[in-house]
């Protein structure tokens, strides 16, 4: 199929999978924001609601996300290898006019995000890393997991909190180029909208960074206990 073999087709696939993952990241951020207390019962109530979803729905969602990530990574690597081969000899003077640090490092910020997501899943979802904080999630008599206790215990550790904040800096870089780039690849852009898209992309990425970094930071400075 042309969508998976052609140059533009694969860019469109990168854009769609990327946008879907950004939508997931927004939902995840909404979930995290329950830690600020707008939902009765906070983070624990949210976690309980999530785990009360029918299993096929939950696992369908998880497997769908896994498939999106795999496709995004596969084509990202493939396109990058091809692109490197199309310019084997570099100029003696590197003088980029419009490319940014973020746009030039997409493959590396992407790789770092993959490592972070694996760590994050092992840390909070499967509780393999730091099992002593993971054990705090143990459900109470009603079967409600205590996610807040686990998260608070983890982020009171300076190293872990800073690791999460650092990973969100990487997310900021990846999204600041990625969001506007996906609009361009989909063809949802012209000369009037493009300057707004570039600014909006940076602002959106900044919003995600601030939202995600807020939870480890407010726990680290003991605002949330």
């Amino acid at each position: 199929m042309q969508l998976f073999s052609s140059s533009i087709g694969r860019k469109i696939v990168m854009a769609i999978t990327g946008q879907c993952m950004v939508l997931f990241a927004i939902i995840h951020l909404l979930g995290n924001s329950t830690a600020f207390g707008w939902l009765t019962g906070g983070l624990n109530a949210y976690a309980h609601h999530l785990h009360s979803l029918p299993l096929p729905l939950l696992w369908g969602f998880r497997l769908g996300l896994l498939a999106l990530a795999c496709i995004h990574i596969w084509f990202g690597i493939q396109l990058t290898i091809e692109n490197r081969a199309c310019r084997t000899q570099q100029y003696a003077v590197k003088n980029m006019q419009k490319a940014s640090f973020a746009s030039e490092t997409m493959i590396w910020t992407g790789a770092l995000l993959l490592l972070f997501i694996i760590y994050h899943l092992l840390h909070f979802t499967f509780q393999v890393i730091n099992p002593e904080t993971g054990a705090l999630i143990n459900p109470d008599a009603l079967g409600h997991p205590n996610v807040l206790a686990m998260v608070v215990a983890a982020f009171q550790n300076v190293g872990i909190a800073l690791l999460y904040v650092g990973a969100m800096v990487v997310l900021f870089l990846h999204l600041s180029h990625g969001i506007q780039s996906s609009f361009q690849s989909m063809g949802w852009s012209n000369d009037r909208t493009q300057p707004c898209l570039i600014k909006g992309s940076t602002l959106g990425a900044l919003f995600m960074f601030l939202g995600y970094a807020a939870v480890p930071l407010i726990i680290l400075v003991r605002i949330l206990k």
Binding site: R87, Y91, S103, Q180, Q184, D191
Partner: protein
């Protein structure tokens, strides 16, 4: 002219005998250059000296020297056409440089543009893309009436903005991926917006996209270096339009 101050510049120029030669940089001194010399005239002065000294002159592409033919093709200090906005290197003047400057001069570098000699590259791949369908098929016969197809001015302008491309290949040279998306996007767009081009729009975008990949050009990563390099200021909106046309073509 004689009362003008002259400049002395150090040129570090890529010299390569043919496509198989690994090539290397050579250093030359350009003496007696005035601010009124164009970049290519400055090279002419250097070449006169080289010829008098019995050495091979620096070989470079050029034709009109008016900035409209798209023949000149040099990367100056890492920027295709030297980095002056909307200017080909033949229209870049030495007043943009200072006495004592060191200038790096390199050919377009992309896999799809093999080096023929020194600063000359083979840009036939761009012609291959055009031959794949960057035209409108029409039947021969009587001359059509001038106003038979009415085209609103904004639509005509949009098409002309894309058609301004002179096919120099600076977009490919500027692209870190050696991609020809701005060139191909402008060809797709100049026809896609016009009523005469619409019937073949879907087939055209597919054919041009395939030709582009087959010629060994890279994929777009939206750095927009192509737009910065383009001496005609072609906007990357035409890449977005090509992407849109390509997506539409999948369903037609």
């Amino acid at each position: 002219m004689s009362d003008h101050k002259t400049m002395t510049l150090t040129l570090i120029v890529w010299r390569q005998k043919n496509a198989n030669d690994p090539g290397k940089f050579e250093t030359y001194t350009a003496k007696g250059i005035t601010e009124h010399h164009s970049f290519l005239e400055m090279l002419d002065v250097v070449n006169e000296d080289l010829i008098l000294a019995g050495k091979d002159p620096i070989v470079f592409d050029h034709d009109c020297r008016e900035g409209i033919c798209g023949m000149c093709s040099q990367v100056v200090n890492g920027m295709a056409h030297g980095g002056q906005d909307r200017t080909t290197v033949c229209q870049l003047h030495m007043r943009k440089f200072k006495d004592g400057d060191t200038i790096y001069i390199e050919p377009w570098r992309a896999r799809a543009f093999p080096i023929i000699r020194d600063l000359i590259v083979d840009r036939a791949a761009l012609d291959t893309i055009v031959q794949a369908g960057a035209y409108v098929s029409c039947h021969t016969g009587g001359v059509p009436d001038g106003n038979a197809i009415l085209i609103p001015k904004p639509v005509a302008d949009e098409s002309m903005d894309a058609a301004e491309c002179i096919g120099c290949g600076a977009c490919v040279a500027g692209c870190p991926n050696g991609a020809a998306m701005l060139f191909t996007g402008s060809k797709v767009s100049q026809f896609a917006v016009l009523p005469q081009g619409k019937p073949e729009a879907a087939a055209r975008v597919k054919a041009l996209e395939k030709a582009m990949t087959d010629c060994g050009f890279g994929n777009c990563t939206n750095h927009y270096e192509c737009q910065a390099a383009c001496p005609k200021g072609i906007n990357v909106k035409f890449i977005a339009r090509m992407n849109r046309e390509f997506l539409k073509a999948q369903f037609s």
